[in-house]
Structure formats: C-alpha cells, structure tokens
C-alpha cells in the first residue's frame, strides 16, 4: 500500500510543516516515508508545496507526475495539481480565496473552510492542523494519536503548552470537512 500526497498553498500557510507532521506520524506507524519539498526561491506569499509519500514498501521516486491525494490551499495550487490527480483520487481544498471550483468528475472532492475556522477559533497558526484533521477524517493514512505523539516528540518543551490548541484544531478539522457532490 502506497499513498502519494501533494500539499500545496501559499508560503507561510504551514504547508511544509503539515507535510512534516504527516511524515513523522507515518514514521511512528512504521511506514516508509519520503518528504520532498519544492525548494525553489520560495517566500512568504509565494507558492509552496511538498510531496509526502507513505508506503509499506521501499519508496522509489520522490518526484511525481501524479498523486493519490492533493491538498490545495490556494488557486494556483488548484490549477496546478487538480489535473495531476490520479483518476479516483482525492482533492481536499480550502475555498478561501478560490475563484473557481474544482472541475473534474472522476475524483472525490472535499472542502474544508479552514481559514474561516482558524479565524473563528482565534488561532490562525493552527490553520494547517485544521486542514490535516480534515484530511485524516477523509483518508486515515495515519492515526491521530500518532500525529499528537509526533508533535510532542518534535516540538521543543517550551512550546508544549500549544499541544492542546493543536489537538483542538485537528478535531475541529475532522468535524467540518465536507464532501462536495
């Protein structure tokens, strides 16, 4: 079993760290993992994306043409990666700032209004955790417990007071993700 995921959005949205948390949780679950960022001249406000591959077997190419899952968090990412989903793949997007809806009929489409929810929760920095919660609700590629354990292991002790807010964001994301027909 191999899952090939692209997470894409604006620089500063937490795209790379969301991918890293996902990869780390996969590692705790005993999976093979590859986390491959697009490391061009990225900057805050520019586009950023990361490929995360979770597999039960040795992983071949870290650079992919097609994906099983695309998490797209801005319009340029939607334009770039919707066409690169495998048939039957999963598209998860945040409608904030999007000027058009996804077009394809041969994929499953989910929406998560994570930007709005993060603002409502007065915790804009947990935006990516809301999205991750939504993703894991749709496709439980890793267990929530492993995500939390991963955060605990990788966050410096001085940031551990933020763990409950992150868990709340994950749970909220699981609640608010919606399938689009």
């Amino acid at each position: 079993m191999k899952t090939e995921i692209i997470i894409a959005g604006f620089g500063g949205q937490g795209v790379l760290s969301m991918g890293r948390i996902l990869a780390y949780a996969g590692m705790l679950q005993g999976k093979e993992i590859t986390w491959m960022p697009a490391y061009g001249p990225e900057q805050r406000g520019g586009t950023a994306n990361v490929t995360v591959i979770l597999s039960d077997e040795r992983i071949s190419s870290p650079v992919l043409q097609q994906f099983d899952i695309a998490v797209v968090l801005n319009q340029p990412s939607m334009d770039k990666f919707e066409p690169r989903l495998k048939s039957g793949g999963i598209l998860l997007y945040d409608s904030n700032g999007m000027t058009r809806k996804p077009k394809r009929k041969d994929i499953s489409i989910y929406r998560i209004d994570a930007t709005d929810m993060a603002t409502e929760m007065n915790a804009p920095k947990t935006f990516n955790m809301i999205v991750l919660g939504g993703l894991l609700q749709v496709v439980p590629v890793v267990e929530i417990d492993k995500v939390m354990l991963g955060l605990q292991n990788t966050l410096p002790e001085r940031h551990h007071h933020l763990l409950p807010a992150n868990e709340a964001a994950l749970r909220k994301g699981m609640e608010i993700v919606e399938k689009e027909e």
């Binding site: 993992i33 986390w35 491959m36 071949s60 190419s61 870290p62 650079v63 992919l64 043409q65």
Partner: protein, 361 residues
C-alpha cells in the same frame, strides 16, 4: 519502542552532519550555499565542540575551507567540507593538491543546476568534474553517490573510511533532491575521536609534531620530473587497487531484463519507478545503480551487455555518465541517453516514453 527511538526523520543534509559527528570527525570547514547549507547549520546547532571536541568553522570562502581541510588532513585529522556546484568548482585547486599529497578527507557536493551560478534546483552535471578530475593532473577521487537519506549518513562514514584506507580524498556526490528530502534514517553509532597517540599510529606520515622521528613533509611539489613521475606512478598503482577492490553498485530486477536503465543518486529513485511502470507494460526493464561513480562498475556493465538488448542512462545533465556506460559496453549493444537539465527533474512517465522511443522498438 527502543528501536523506534533510534529511527529519526531528517533531511539528507542533516544526516551528513550527524554522521560526521558520530563517526569521530575532528573538523568541518565550509561556506554556505543552497542546497546544502543545512550541513553546516545542523553542525552549528549540534555544537559538537562542546561534546566530542569536533571543530566546526565557517570559512571566509570555499577556497579557504578546502585549504583548511588540506591542513587538517595533513595533521592526520578526520576532516570534511561541503558545498554545492559553484563552490566545489572553487575548491578544485585544493582537491588536486590534496590528492597529490595523498591525504584522506571528504568533500561533499550537493549538486545544483549549472553551468555558472546556475540554479538552486537539483542537478548531476558535475559528474565529469567529480570522476574525471575537476582539478589539474592525473588524479582520482573515490566518488560515492547516495540515493536516500540513509545513504547520506552511511556514505559519509564509508567515504571517510575509504579515504583513510587509501590515503586519498573521497567525495560524496549528492544532489538537491537527496539533500533536501526527509526520510527515515538510522544514524551510525557514536565512535570517539581518535587520540593524538592513535592518530600518530594510524597516520605515521602526518605532521603531528616531530618527536624522535624524521620530519614529515607534506607537499604536492617536486621540482625534479623523475621524482614527480614516481609520485604519479605511485598514485596510479593506488588507483588500480581501488578499481580492483571498491566498486559498488545495486541492481533492481536485472536478472531477466531485456533493457537496463543506468542511473545514480536521485535519478536512480526515479529509475526504480520507471522499472515499475515498464514492468506493468510488459517491458522487461532493470535498473543498474552505480554507488561508486569512480571506480565505475565497468565490469558489471560488460557482463550485463552480454544478456540485454540495450542500455539507457538517465541523468540530470546533458549526458555525462552515459559516456562511461558506452566505454564499458564498447559498441556491442545500443546505449541511449535521457535527461533533463538546469534543475529540472525527469519524471518516470516521460523517461519511460523516451525509453520506448529510443530503445524498445
């Protein structure tokens, strides 16, 4: 859970830094450049000078860094430097001197697109520079090409071991993909740095301070041609031994293959996917991954050439390693090439299409 604790998630560049500390390195000298800056950043964060006593120094330039490596290696110390393509070009004079002076050390090149200042994205276009001698004179580097984060750690240790085995500089030839990606890694065990006495024993040639022995002189200069020829002949005998003993490669599904893809480093990872896709279409494709780029797995390619219909070299360049594949095959079967340049990475799908167009007819 104990086993789990040993497995870490990190970038290839970070793995090099951790491996260097753990294998008992005495010093790192470098100058920052994307996509390998995490090597020195990680060393600075880890502060090994407070634990193992390893020196980490940001030099004023790449030229200064390689000459610090020359000095450290001359004292028998276990030292390394790292850079990316334009920076490694700057180091070439020092590398040639170190090779001639027969000193062990490690040079890491996390390649980016060139020529010139180029791009910061991955490339393999420094193959010629690494394996044919980027500096002047008849010298060789032992060149290892990691294709995973685990190998970034393992080959840092191996490259230094080989450097000390043969008293010669070795190179880790990686690229931006292997440097920037994160994977699971089991770091090598901690080995203490050698004591001064151990260094004197292991490196009797080193400039360790003259006590009850003749002076050790480390130089790459000989004014008499005959003397310089003697040095050259000695180097060539050593290189012949390395060719005999140190060729390393990995094969994926080569046993029944009709065609062989040859690829190293990150391209070998893409190549594995090409093999998967080709096999799905009924094309019997195998992958030969040279792990040592010098010495090159010439004999293995010659052996495979007797049983396959053709080879294709896949590289992040305009076609460099393909020349060594062609030399090995020596015209017996077709040898084709596919690659992308300037930081663009070929995808498995387009590579398979190229293979079908060029080779599988």
């Amino acid at each position: 859970m104990k086993v789990m604790e040993e497995i870490k998630l990190m970038k290839g560049n970070e793995a090099i830094a951790h491996a260097a500390i753990r294998c008992g390195c005495d010093g790192y000298f470098g100058y920052p450049i994307t996509p390998q800056s995490e090597v020195m950043e990680t060393l600075m964060q880890e502060k090994p000078w407070e634990t193992t006593g390893m020196v980490v120094l940001q030099a004023e330039s790449e030229v200064a860094a390689i000459n610090m490596v020359y000095g450290g290696a001359g004292c028998g110390k276990k030292v390394l430097t790292s850079s990316s393509s334009p920076g490694v070009s700057l180091k070439q004079e020092g590398i040639s001197y170190i090779a001639c002076a027969e000193l062990p050390c490690l040079i890491v090149n996390v390649m980016r697109g060139g020529p010139g200042l180029g791009t910061i994205q991955p490339s393999q276009a420094d193959y010629f520079q690494a394996v044919k001698g980027g500096g002047h004179g008849d010298y060789k580097l032992i060149v290892l090409a990691p294709s995973s984060v685990q190998e970034m750690a393992d080959f840092t240790v191996l490259a230094l071991d080989l450097a000390f085995k043969y008293n010669t500089p070795s190179m880790l030839l990686a690229d931006g993909i292997v440097g920037q990606m994160m994977e699971k890694v089991v770091l090598p065990p901690f080995v203490p740095r050698r004591t001064e006495e151990e260094i004197r024993q292991q490196c009797p040639w080193a400039t360790t301070g003259k006590v009850n022995r003749k002076s050790n002189v480390i130089t790459s200069l000989a004014l008499q041609a005959e003397e310089m020829e003697e040095t050259n002949l000695r180097l060539q005998r050593k290189y012949a031994q390395i060719v005999e003993n140190e060729v390393r490669f990995e094969e994926v599904q080569c046993d029944d293959a009709d065609y062989i893809l040859v690829a190293f480093g990150s391209c070998a990872r893409v190549g594995e996917k090409v093999v998967e896709l080709a096999r799905n279409e009924g094309i019997k494709l195998g992958l030969l991954r040279p792990i040592t780029l010098w010495p090159f797995p010439t004999k293995e390619i010659q052996r495979l050439a007797k049983q396959v219909k053709g080879f294709m070299s896949l590289e992040l360049s305009a076609g460099q390693m393909v020349e060594d594949v062609r030399l090995a095959v020596n015209g017996t079967v077709p040898v084709e090439f596919y690659g992308r340049q300037g930081g663009v990475v070929p995808l498995a799908e387009e590579t398979l299409a190229a293979l079908k167009e060029k080779l599988v007819k």
